[in-house]
């Protein structure tokens, strides 16, 4: 990863944290100050979906031309994406605790996100239970594509066709309300970019670590 990308990610994150906590936000019913969760909760989901997309991309590349490096990339992006998803669930639960009154409200969005994470955890279980390296890479690439296809309806479709209390659906103030306020975008878009860059950075470091460990194992 290029150095200027790393530096800009750090600078953007510092800006997001200061501006996200100090800048003026619109006063909306129910949400009030918790609207600031937008800067920290929503970028996690953007980052997760983007990282899973990269993971699927590398899985498809692996199936077309089997190469060990692509399998490692696919796995690592799925790892980091899952970490982002777990952080997204935790920040969402914190927010729900103050807005809805309880951390787990059984909302369709919460349930869908939790099930999507289960699908990816199953992916890691599958990787763990296959011994042959080549077989593991191929089968988990297949399941990765399958998991991505299963995640799309869980996160994007089913919550939209059921009533949800999540902001942005069911008549609750959400993205449409933010559209009125361009000040929030000034923080929100940098936050999305910065968190995604951080995810890429973590993934690239992990890929390097795994490759070095394999080289060490070869040497010894």
């Amino acid at each position: 990863m290029k150095n200027w990308l790393k530096i800009s990610a750090v600078v953007l994150l510092v800006y997001v944290h200061i501006a996200g906590l100090l800048m003026d936000v619109p006063r909306l019913a129910i949400l009030n100050e918790t609207i600031r969760a937008l800067y920290f909760h929503v970028p996690m989901w953007f980052g997760m979906v983007l990282l899973y997309m990269l993971s699927v991309y590398h899985a498809v590349r692996y199936l077309r031309h089997p190469e060990h490096g692509r399998d490692i990339q696919s796995m690592t992006y799925a790892h980091v994406g899952t970490a982002f998803g777990i952080l997204g669930i935790i920040t969402g639960m914190l927010w729900a605790n103050y807005t809805w009154g309880s951390p787990w409200h059984g909302d369709p969005k919460q349930n869908g996100a939790a099930i999507a994470l289960l699908v990816y955890l199953a992916y890691f279980v599958l990787r763990g239970s296959l011994d042959n390296e080549e077989q593991r890479a191929r089968l988990s690439a297949v399941y990765n594509i399958f998991a991505f296809a299963a995640m799309i309806p869980l996160i994007f479709i089913i919550p939209r066709i059921t009533d949800s209390m999540h902001p942005g659906s069911g008549g609750n103030p959400g993205f449409n309300a933010y559209d009125l306020d361009s000040r929030m975008r000034l923080v929100f878009y940098p936050a999305v970019i910065a968190w995604f860059l951080i995810g890429l950075w973590i993934a690239s470091l992990r890929i390097r670590i795994i490759k070095m460990e394999e080289k060490l194992a070869d040497l010894s």
């Binding site: 099930i115 599958l126 399941y143 309806p153």
Partner: protein
């Protein structure tokens, strides 16, 4: 010249298409014959279904005499899910290594997965319909809109068998396949089941049909995605 080429090519592709369909039916027939030969498996499946429903009957009906339609649909889909998972799982997991090798030499991967999916879907429909019959005998039959209920049943069972066929093929390659089958399949089929419960609830309440068309179309779309993925991805599983 070109025309004759095209004609010959067309004849050839038609020929290969016919060969393919005959191979497909041959594979499905082979599945049926194998299944019918092992009568204990069919009997076991029937007994499994019966005991599931009987347990439901004993735990709910004797006490209250009535359960709510929501509980009915939840029980019904749980019954279908477990019976279908059991019947599909043995498709690839129970198969011997020699059979795999033989199939590998005579048929292409696409034909095999299509045959498996079609056969499993037929079996799944039989299971679901039998379960429905037993449910109406032992518990009760609250369905008001039969058309919506049965089209939902058809689509959901097809979707379940499609996804489970592919997943059982993956799980068959691993060490502890039975555990892995459950771990891999349940999160994937949850979205299908959520839609299924919603359609069933509409059908039980006898709501207007326009309410359920959206869900049915969604189910159809999920089936198409699952079928296409299975068709494209299965060759990669099959190769090893």
């Amino acid at each position: 010249m070109c025309l004759t080429c095209a004609v010959i090519h067309g004849v050839k592709s038609q020929e290969s298409l016919r060969l393919k369909t005959s191979m497909l039916f041959g594979l499905i027939r082979k599945e049926f014959i194998l299944e019918l030969r092992r009568k204990s498996v069919i009997a076991g499946l029937g007994l499994y279904l019966f005991s599931l429903i009987f347990i439901c009957y004993i735990t709910f009906n004797l006490r209250e005499n009535m359960i709510s339609p929501t509980t009915w649909s939840a029980l019904f889909w749980l019954m279908v899910l477990f019976a279908v998972v059991n019947s599909v799982a043995k498709g690839f997991i129970g198969e011997k290594r020699g059979v795999f090798l033989y199939l590998y030499t005579v048929a292409s991967a696409q034909e095999i997965i299509l045959a498996k999916i079609l056969y499993n879907a037929l079996l799944g429909w039989v299971i679901a319909l039998t379960g429905y019959g037993l449910f109406s005998v032992f518990i009760f039959n609250p369905v008001q809109d039969h058309l919506i209920f049965f089209s939902g049943l058809l689509l959901v069972t097809l979707g379940l068998t499609t996804t489970l066929s592919l997943i059982s093929a993956i799980a068959a390659k691993a060490n502890n396949s039975n555990v892995l089958m459950a771990v891999l399949s349940f999160p994937v089929v949850i979205s299908l089941l959520l839609l299924a419960v919603r359609v069933t609830r509409n059908a039980l309440d006898g709501l207007d049909r326009s309410v359920s068309t959206d869900e049915l179309l969604n189910l159809l779309a999920i089936n198409c995605i699952a079928g296409a993925l299975g068709y494209i991805l299965f060759p990669y599983i099959w190769r090893s």
